[in-house]
């Protein structure tokens, strides 16, 4: 019941956001707003999946594959943010942990020539370490994690870029970017097939691989950990009421650190999934912007109602409309409209507690009569 209402309110947010997007497209160019703007935007990969031209070429699932590939890292950063949220921590540092994760994966893949699982482990580890730092600072020195995360994001980015630039095995100076994992070390690529099913081939998109299965499995594990285990119980208790948790003998310092470590590990893992998918290249020369996946994680977590399974769907949704954004006619409609819509949706999500309250009342008004009868019977 409660969950149902939460989902309904999320859907309302999404619809309002999309409606707003449509209005905007109409303002920009009323004539083509549907056919060249809104329809590719919201259909995105689906429009090609059933297009006879694409089917004929055998590439009809490619765009869906791209959506999935792009969703993998943001589902993970979404999980990262959501997990910390449960502990009452706002992990705005997912971007930095993601950066370190990317570095770990690339270092193992390009320099040490390790196989993929080692690279993935390294990504996870480095992400975890970078998440641990704000955790330590929070637990022992009571430094607000938002601030330390912001600082560590930039320290991480500058540090990683400095190291990468100076390492010949990582930095491909003829392309001014990091080497592609798929070119240098094929063994570091995340496998394409599972149980004989070759995911990349199905989708005709090389970067779509078993990573998405990892992401889903991890989301389920996180769900179980949070809701079924003593660790999850402790964590949420700390998140709701730190003092009570301490009173109950729960080691809140340990839990803060652990939560941040796991949160960082998830972000790092996400970076691993993305950078070990084949052809993505890190650009160590660019120190002006943190990886967007980190901040998308916040969006994913919020839209997913801070629920691990919700994160899967919201991650796919956000990836869906951002691919859609690039499928609009670019010379008329800026692709950032999709970003604008997600921003709006998250803004509306902030109201969702109130909306849920209203919705609950609406439902209860229906039930009222039944309820009163019960009372009289008592």
């Amino acid at each position: 019941m409660k969950k149902g209402i939460a989902i309904i309110s999320s859907i309302v947010c999404i619809l309002v956001g999309l409606l707003f997007g449509l209005i905007l497209l109409c303002i920009i160019d009323p004539a083509d707003s549907i056919s060249l703007g809104f329809s590719p935007l919201i259909l995105s990969g689906l429009s090609t999946a059933f297009d006879p031209n694409w089917i004929a070429a055998g590439t009809n699932l490619m765009k869906l594959g791209q959506e999935i590939a792009n969703a993998m890292p943001i589902i993970m950063t979404g999980l990262s943010v959501a997990f910390a949220f449960k502990m009452g921590l706002f992990n705005i540092g997912a971007a930095g942990q993601y950066t370190l994760g990317a570095f770990g994966a690339l270092y193992c893949a390009l320099v040490l020539k390790c196989p993929w699982y080692v690279c993935l482990l390294a990504a996870t580890l480095l992400g975890a370490i970078w998440g641990m730092l704000p955790g330590l600072l929070k637990a022992y020195l009571n430094i607000n994690e938002v601030i330390s995360c912001i600082m560590l994001n930039w320290i991480g980015l500058y540090g990683v870029n400095t190291i990468m630039c100076s390492n010949d095995k990582m930095f491909n100076s003829s392309q001014a970017k990091a080497y592609q994992v798929g070119v240098v070390n094929k063994s570091a690529l995340i496998p394409d097939s599972i149980f004989g099913w070759n995911i990349s081939e199905t989708f005709n998109y090389a970067a779509t691989n078993t990573g998405i299965i990892f992401a889903v499995v991890i989301a389920i594990i996180i769900l179980i950990v949070l809701n079924k285990t003593t660790f999850g119980y402790e964590l949420k208790a700390c998140g709701y009421n730190k003092d009570a948790a301490k009173y109950a003998g729960i080691n809140d310092k340990r839990n803060i650190i652990l939560a941040m470590v796991i949160s960082g590990a998830l972000a790092g893992f996400g970076a691993g999934l993305f950078y070990l998918s084949g052809t993505v290249q890190w650009n160590p020369l660019d120190s002006t912007a943190l990886p967007a996946a980190g901040f998308d994680g916040i969006t994913v977590a919020l839209l997913g109602l801070v629920n691990p399974i919700g994160c899967i769907f919201s991650g796919l949704f956000i990836s869906h409309i951002s691919v859609g954004g690039t499928m609009m006619q670019q010379s008329i409609f800026p692709s950032e409209i999709s970003q604008l819509i997600t921003g709006l949706i998250v803004y509306l999500c902030a109201f969702s507690p109130i909306m849920q309250e209203k919705l609950t009342k609406l439902f209860e008004a229906h039930k009222k009569i039944k309820h009163d009868v019960n009372k009289e019977e008592k």
Binding site: K228, A245, A248, N251
Partner: protein, 514 residues
């Protein structure tokens, strides 16, 4: 008619799911002290908040000096010269006393503060009524008593002539209470009219002229104090006769359960040590009470014993095991239960349901978990058992979100949890703070039962009545030291008061307590 300053006629106020005030009438005479009595949740604070403009009544009218008035916000109340000292002080902690007093009615020129003017007026008032304050002290550094004086000055500074005191004595020492009573009387003789809320019948009996009683949001009646007794009032309040005096058998102390040896604890707030070299013990089958004025180190002492904070020096022994450096969990698993002072801060995770709160310390026990997974069925069953046994009232049984429960029932849930752990030592701090007489009676009985079944009980209370009623042995704490030890049967409240304020002290040595 016109000798009523304030008339609240037919006032009703609804809150979601509850009618907090139901057609209440209250008439306040000029120059009287009018007490307002009622159980917890009877609607006293709500009624007063309506008079002060914090809430709007859903029905009914308010008259001031016979004229109907509309009080939309505290500013309107202020214009009508109505002032209020709130149950929970409304002071900005990081502001100075002066800033707090003038807040909202600052003398200013074009928005720029003119504090000098205010200062002289405040000093004048403070002298006139004997309300000693330091205008430049920061509120977070001053005592509760002084904070109360600041609240009173706030009203006087605004030239109010209807003064509302919502449970002003709950946090004061006996000496401060006496002082407050005389101030109130003085104000009344000057023609100010006072509304006075208290759960303490004795106070009402001494200071009030008349008393109105509320029960479950309804108006029961108004009586002249000189025509009634404390028992009469309490009967009016709860609707039945209440046993104000607890019946208890003589204690039969057994072996030592908790032994505190030369304990020193640093303070939470200041640089000085809060607990200085304290030694005592608690034996099986007795209730030992630490009495004292708030802020004399009791909180820190309990935090150190329970492990919530670290001690600086000293040794703690629980059932012959040295627990000085053990974790909270170790202490809890080895026979220590703790009913904390602040149930919302420490005692409960308000957003967890009742079942989850019931196993707050025990979720790891094999009974409730396996391989790190919680056995939710077992937890629920256990919670339901306790709900039955301790008569915890809650809407949806074990699944009730604790936040939605009333304070009294929240407290019951904590007590159920702590007692059912079957501890060797039960530490309880202010177990009845803010509860009504009915609930107090229940809790006191439960504690006594524990004693009689051979548990050691360490009680911290600021309420002298509770201390006298419940304990077998009383230790008085003053400025972090134990300054007196008494058998409860051999001491009276006056003597305790003298020790608590530091006017008298004995030398307590470890040996003496043995």
């Amino acid at each position: 008619m016109a000798d009523y300053v304030i008339e609240m006629l037919g006032i009703s106020k609804y809150f979601p799911g509850i009618k907090a005030n139901d057609n209440i009438t209250l008439q306040l005479k000029r120059g009287e002290i009018h007490a307002l009595l009622g159980e917890n949740g009877a609607g006293k604070s709500t009624l007063m908040s309506i008079l002060f403009g914090l809430y709007q009544p859903d029905e009914g009218v308010i008259k001031k000096d016979g004229k109907v008035v509309k009080i939309n916000n505290p500013n309107d109340a202020n214009d009508l010269r109505i002032g209020m000292v709130h149950q929970h002080f409304k002071l900005v902690e990081c502001y100075s006393v002066l800033d707090n007093i003038i807040l909202g009615v600052e003398p200013n020129v074009a928005g720029i503060l003119q504090k000098q003017e205010a200062r002289s007026k405040i000093m004048e008032l403070s002298e006139k009524y004997g309300l000693q304050i330091d205008p430049d002290a920061i509120v977070e550094n001053i005592t509760v008593g002084m904070q109360q004086r600041v609240e009173i000055l706030k009203m006087l500074y605004r030239d109010n002539d209807v003064l509302i005191f919502d449970e002003p004595t709950a946090v004061l020492t006996p000496q401060e209470i006496t002082e407050l009573m005389s101030i109130m009387k003085k104000l009344a003789t000057e023609g100010k009219s006072i509304l006075f809320i208290s759960h303490k019948l004795a106070e009402i009996m001494t200071v009030a002229d008349r008393c109105s009683v509320l029960r479950k949001g309804k108006y029961i009646g108004t009586v002249d104090i000189k025509d009634t007794t404390a028992e009469g009032l309490s009967t009016m309040m709860v609707g039945r006769k209440v046993n104000l005096k607890l019946e208890k058998k003589e204690a039969t102390p057994g072996e030592v359960i908790l032994d505190v040896n030369n304990l020193t604890v640093a303070s939470n707030s200041s640089k000085k040590d809060a607990v200085k070299n304290v030694s005592f013990n608690v034996k099986r089958g007795e209730i030992v009470c630490i009495a004292g004025i708030e802020g004399n180190g009791q909180a820190e002492l309990i935090q150190a014993i329970t492990g919530l904070s670290k001690q600086k020096k000293g040794k703690l022994t629980l059932c012959d095991k040295d627990i000085s450096h053990e974790s909270i969990r170790y202490r809890s698993e080895h026979g220590m239960s703790h009913i904390p002072e602040d149930r919302h801060k420490h005692g409960l995770v308000l957003d967890y349901n009742l079942a989850q709160n019931i196993v707050l310390q025990r979720y790891r026990e094999p009974e409730f978990s396996k391989f790190g997974f919680i056995k939710f069925d077992a937890v629920k069953k256990y919670a339901e058992k306790l709900i039955q046994k301790f008569d915890v009232r809650c809407g949806q049984g074990a699944e009730t979100i604790v936040r939605s429960m009333s304070g009294g029932n929240q407290q019951k849930a904590i007590i159920a949890r702590e007692i059912d752990k079957n501890p060797e030592l039960l530490i309880t701090v202010q177990p009845t703070r803010g509860l009504d007489v009915g609930a107090i009676e229940y809790i006191h009985k439960a504690i006594l039962e524990q004693r009689d079944s051979g548990k050691a009980i360490l009680l911290v209370s600021l309420e002298l009545d509770e201390v006298m009623n419940l304990s077998d042995r009383i230790l008085v704490m003053y400025e972090g030291e134990l300054v007196g030890e008494f058998k409860s049967s051999e001491v009276d409240t006056e003597t305790l008061g003298l020790y608590m304020t530091g006017a008298k002290r004995d030398n307590i040595t470890k040996e003496a307590t043995k």
